[in-house]
């Protein structure tokens, strides 16, 4: 519980202080609470606050389906409903939850709610007349019928259908006709959609501002249709291999007001096409051209200069760049905020020098795999770009503590730094500790980082949210002890292959209450005891990876089953668990939706059968050995699939790593 929560809680305990305030006032107070945990505390200590919350609560994220009907009635002011993590949600339960209610919900997130079909959506749309935004992404089973159900919501403004693999032109046409006020639409990965569908969409939804057609098989014809969308500002067409320069030229002749264009991985787009695009859209702000260009023509550079005032984001990943090119960019676009040069060959200190000389507003610099740059480049960045917040330097092995020292000194706003595989040591972390704003720190594969370095980090980086120590195998339990001392806000922690860590270290980690994702792959020394302390201490844990943790046994699973109630993703491949532990785990964890259990050699076939039956359709993803495919009962597999579970069968030999 945070300090705010505690203070309010105390007030409630007094009994008088809170009660005299009006519901409105209390609502205002509650609006200012950020952590869900604090909301709960308030609700528990004071009836007044509970009533205020009931009247004021706008957003709700349901984790299980059973309380859903009551929750929707308890919070009449709800506007946002997130059902993406709601385990075993299906048509019947969704329809029952919304049945008969006149809800004011505007936004619904159903991402990965693979159990929900068109019947549920129809009921939802009917019950929420004010629906404005729906996210149905990654419901791979969703198709035209689901799209048609959503099309009944005439007021829809935002719709995400990413990876709804069954959606075809027909479904898109349904949406286009049914929701003429659509402003944002994403049909990424809906591979069945063709030019015909996009054309109709462009004719019917004239209000579109943002459109994502990435990974579609559409051609230049679509771009021609899209070019007539007068209000279009954002267009993403990642990996549309049928689109080429001709299409971009058609687009440039259109009437839209494009600000953001993403042509990453469009194999047939060249700098010529981009030049014509820029020619038509003088107010382009963001241009993503990662992994599509092979060389930059002079025409593109001269056009780029016309975007001098507006361009803020430029991504050129995978391009062969030269000093002159970087110089031209630096001179042409001095308002750049973000530049992506990931995997660009030919980026040198000289190039960086000419780039940053004019671009003093840069906040994000991605130099992943630009392995020619040295400390000099870092010095130049530090000198010129004081606002830098994000610096990605993966595999830049020529840099060391000297360069980082200057960065840390000059750029106090640094929030994210990626030093994966840079070979930096503890000495580099000492200066980095000066960056008290640091949120994300990635130190994977830097095997010389030890407890000492972690102690530096924990001394000043109290805001750290994500820490990646993948294969930092000098880190021991003491390092973790030091870490949790200072960095209590860590949510994501990767300790894979740090094989010196034992249960003692995990006991320290137990004090990280906000930890959500923990990866402990291949820590052969940890046992059920360590897992227990994590399960008990890390109450927010959502994802846990225990692959190749050979000493973890049923005791660990019992602890997880008992305490890790928010756990959604779990990997226990190669663990020494039995069928009994597995059964108990799967029957108890009601939020669990994704489990990987390959090579559980101690679990019998009956064990798997039983364990999977007790999940009662909560699982959405499952990874198992393909040998089990034939021995598990067909009706079990059918039942799993009917509840929207995707099973990934793997066939690999049992290999023990250390």
């Amino acid at each position: 519980m945070s300090r705010e929560g505690q203070r309010l809680g105390c007030g409630g305990a007094g009994g008088i202080g809170i009660g005299v305030l009006s519901l409105d006032m209390l609502g205002q107070v509650l609006d200012r609470l950020r952590e869900p945990r604090d909301h709960k505390a308030c609700r528990l200590v004071s009836h007044a606050l509970e009533r205020a919350e009931a009247a004021h609560r706008r957003a709700l994220r349901a984790l299980r389906r059973e309380p859903l009907p009551r929750l929707l009635r308890a919070f009449p002011a709800l506007e946002q409903l997130d059902l993406s993590a709601c385990a075993s949600l299906d048509d019947a339960s969704l329809a029952a939850a919304v049945a008969g209610a006149d809800l004011g919900i505007r936004r619904v997130c159903l991402a990965r709610a693979s159990g929900v079909g068109w019947r549920g959506l129809e009921a939802l749309v009917a019950a929420c007349p004010r629906l404005e935004a729906v996210d149905l992404s990654h419901c791979v089973g969703a198709g035209d019928r689901e799209a048609a159900a959503l099309a009944a919501a005439a007021g829809l403004r935002e719709l995400r259908l990413d990876k709804c693999l069954g959606v075809t032109d027909m479904g898109l046409a349904k949406v286009a006709v049914g929701c003429p006020r659509l402003e944002k639409l994403s049909v990424k990965w809906c591979r069945e959609i063709s030019d015909i569908g996009v054309d109709l969409l462009a004719k019917k939804c004239r209000e579109l501002r943002s459109l994502d057609i990435s990974y579609l098989q559409v051609g230049n014809g679509s771009l021609k249709s899209i070019s007539y969308l007068g209000k279009l500002e954002e267009l993403a067409m990642v990996a549309c291999s049928c689109i080429d320069d001709e299409g971009l030229e058609l687009l440039s002749k259109g009437s839209n007001s494009l600000q953001t264009v993403d042509v990453s991985r469009c194999d047939h787009v060249t700098s010529q096409g981009l030049a014509s695009l820029i020619h038509g859209h003088n107010f382009l702000q963001k241009l993503h051209a990662a992994d599509c260009l092979h060389e930059i023509g002079q025409c593109f550079l001269s056009k780029l200069a016309t975007l001098k005032e507006t361009l803020t984001v430029l991504k050129l990943d995978g391009l062969e760049v030269s000093v002159s090119l970087l110089e031209a960019i630096g001179e042409g676009c001095d308002n750049l905020v973000e530049i992506g040069l990931s995997k660009c060959s030919g980026v040198t200190d000289e190039g960086i020098s000419s780039l940053v000389a004019r671009c003093s507003h840069l906040r994000t610099i991605d130099l992943t795999c630009c392995n020619l740059i040295t400390n000099n480049a870092l010095d130049l960045i530090a000198d010129n770009c004081k606002m830098v917040e994000c610096l990605r330097l993966e595999s830049c092995s020529l840099i060391n503590e000297k360069g980082l020292d200057w960065i840390a000194t000059c750029c106090p706003n640094l929030k994210e730094i990626d030093l994966t595989d840079c070979g930096v040591n503890d000495a580099a972390l000492q200066p980095l500790a000066k960056c008290s704003e640091l949120l994300i720190l990635k130190l994977g594969l830097c095997s010389s980082i030890s407890d000492k370095g972690l102690a530096f980090i924990s001394s000043n980086c109290g805001k750290l949210v994500e820490l990646d120590l993948y294969r930092c195998n000098s880190v021991t339990d003491d390092g973790l002890a030091a870490l949790v001392n200072g960095c209590k806000k860590i949510k994501l922690l990767n300790l894979c292959y740090c094989n010196k860590i034992t249960d003692g270290g995990l006991i320290h980690l137990g004090s990280l209450e906000e930890l959500t994702n923990l990866e402990l792959r291949c820590l052969a020394r940890i046992t059920g005891i360590g897992i227990s302390s994590i399960a008990i201490g890390c109450k927010s844990l959502i994802e846990l990876d225990l692959k190749h943790c050979y000493s973890v046994d049923d005791a660990g699973l019992w602890a997880l089953a008992r305490y890790a109630l928010n756990l959604r993703q779990l990997t226990i491949s190669y663990c020494q668990v039995t069928g009994l532990g597995l059964c108990h785990l799967l029957s108890s964890l009601r939020s669990l939706q994704d489990i990987k259990m390959v090579h559980l050699s101690w679990v019998s076939i009956e064990g798997f059968e039983m364990a999977l039956r007790v999940t009662c359709g909560r699982l959405k993803k499952l990874k198992m050995l393909s040998g089990l495919k034939t021995v598990l009962s067909p009706e079990l597999l059918q039942m799993l699939q009917s509840c929207g579970c995707r099973i990934r069968w793997v066939n690999k030999p049992l290999v023990y790593k250390d």
């Binding site: 068109w118 108890s588 039956r613």
Partner: protein
């Protein structure tokens, strides 16, 4: 064929007018007429390769060069070049004439020289053509050239070129590429459908002939065949004299038939537009066209589609074409209109406000999906098939859950009352002892598990 010919009607009518207009012109200029005959491959004005001064058709061409779009300076250059070249060739030939008697033994040299001369001459011709070709744009607008005598051109295919025309035919071959993209080079002009009456040989077969299944009959046994080649193969059985390569070979096209008039066909059905007595008579082009036309228009439709049992056809090929599409997904609009093609449906939907594509009916959709991936559309059915296995957990849970479900931070959710019994053979039972979750298993009657096992072993 009727369906195919009707769209052409209007253009043909138009062309006929043109031809009428030209005929006066043509008859008054016999030279031109012949010229037209000789250049079947060109839409128009292939005669321009010849500079005005050298044109054999001086009269007509001189009246038809109103503009001077080409650059005089360039033209002069070209002409100078040609002149120079001619002089060179002349020199060579002169030297050949001079040396001819003196060196009779060196025939190789002479052959070489002749080849060189030939090459030079070819070069000259090409140069002449390209020079004259630059005049082409200026001639384009001239009145008579822009309307080629299309009907006659078609006939020209069958008219052999006289010896005097040889150079012109070579010219036309070389220049073919250049004029291809001319405005008039379309199929319409070459169609031959607007032949003048009398310019072709008109044939009218009788009904029996048309409907006869075979057109080639064995002269010995009387067996009929559709194709002459099949007849020839058949003839082998009648004796060795039919097995010779000459007898089996395709009969060579008679030289005389090449020059014969174009054949056109008339439908025997009086009153039909394709009948020669009709006042707007339009002949049929080939014998196949006529057969199909007669069957489609004047015969009973005896072939019925085996899928829809409604569509009938009199030509077998039409039935086969229909059957390819029959029964395929119909693209339906919410207004009830159906389309055979998706793009047509989408164009319709785009045009009319409020219309929307209709998805296939419910039943077929569901059955589709069940077949496809054991769909999630039918949980109820599957549940019932699971027998005692799908414990109804939702009813039990509702009593346990309270508002804590909101953040799910409560720790009293370990209700496994809905969970099955555990006394079976995997994992050592001892491990349960001393576990933090004692009492959380409410055992179900063991017959539940028995059924599980049976199912599992299936």
């Amino acid at each position: 064929m009727s369906s195919c010919s009707s769209p052409w009607k209007s253009t043909m009518d138009g062309n006929q007018n043109d031809i009428c207009g030209q005929s006066a012109n043509l008859t008054s200029n016999p030279l031109y007429y012949q010229f037209g005959l000789d250049n079947p491959l060109f839409g128009m004005g292939i005669q321009q390769p010849f500079p005005p001064s050298t044109s054999p058709f001086g009269a007509s061409s001189s009246t038809n060069i109103p503009h001077m779009d080409w650059k005089p300076a360039m033209m002069l250059d070209n002409l100078t070049f040609i002149e120079e070249k001619i002089r060179q060739v002349k020199d060579v030939i002169r030297s050949m004439v001079d040396n001819g008697g003196q060196l009779p033994g060196r025939t190789g040299d002479i052959v070489q020289q002749q080849q060189a001369v030939n090459a030079d001459l070819t070069c000259l011709i090409v140069q002449l053509i390209s020079t004259a070709g630059s005049l082409l744009p200026s001639l384009k607008n001239s009145s008579f050239l822009s309307h080629p005598p299309a009907g006659h051109m078609d006939m020209a295919n069958h008219v052999g070129s006289s010896s005097s025309m040889v150079p012109y035919t070579t010219i036309s071959e070389e220049n073919n590429e250049d004029t291809k993209d001319g405005d008039e080079g379309g199929d319409a002009g070459m169609d031959g459908e607007n032949l003048l009456p009398g310019s072709y040989e008109l044939l009218q077969l009788e009904k029996d002939e048309i409907l006869a299944p075979h057109t080639h009959f064995c002269s010995i046994c009387g067996k009929g065949f559709k194709r002459d080649a099949n007849l020839r193969m058949h003839m082998r059985g009648h004796g060795d004299e039919y097995k010779s390569p000459a007898a089996l070979a395709k009969p060579p096209r008679d030289a005389s038939t090449e020059h014969a008039m174009v054949k056109r066909y008339s439908c025997p059905f009086v009153g039909c537009k394709r009948n020669k007595l009709h006042k707007n008579f339009q002949p049929l082009k080939t014998i196949l066209c006529m057969k199909n036309h007669y069957k489609r228009s004047h015969c009973e439709k005896s072939y019925t589609c085996s899928q829809c049992h409604t569509k009938k056809f009199s030509v077998l090929a039409d039935l086969k074409t229909h059957e390819k599409h029959c029964g395929h997904v119909k693209w339906l609009c919410s207004c009830g209109t159906s389309f055979s093609r998706k793009d047509k449906l989408f164009a319709h939907v785009a045009l009319f406000q409020g219309h929307t594509p209709a998805l296939p009916s419910e039943e077929s959709k569901v059955s589709d999906q069940v077949g496809r991936v054991g769909s999630h559309q039918e949980p109820a059915k599957l549940t019932s098939s699971m027998g005692s296995f799908m414990w109804d957990n939702s009813s039990g849970d509702d009593t346990v859950l309270d508002i804590k479900g909101l953040d799910s931070c409560g720790d009293d959710f370990l209700s496994t009352a809905n969970f099955g019994s555990f006394n079976f053979s995997f994992g050592p039972l001892d491990e349960i002892k001393g576990n933090p979750s004692e009492g959380s298993f409410a055992m179900l009657p063991s017959e539940h598990f028995q059924s599980v096992r049976e199912k599992g072993e299936n």
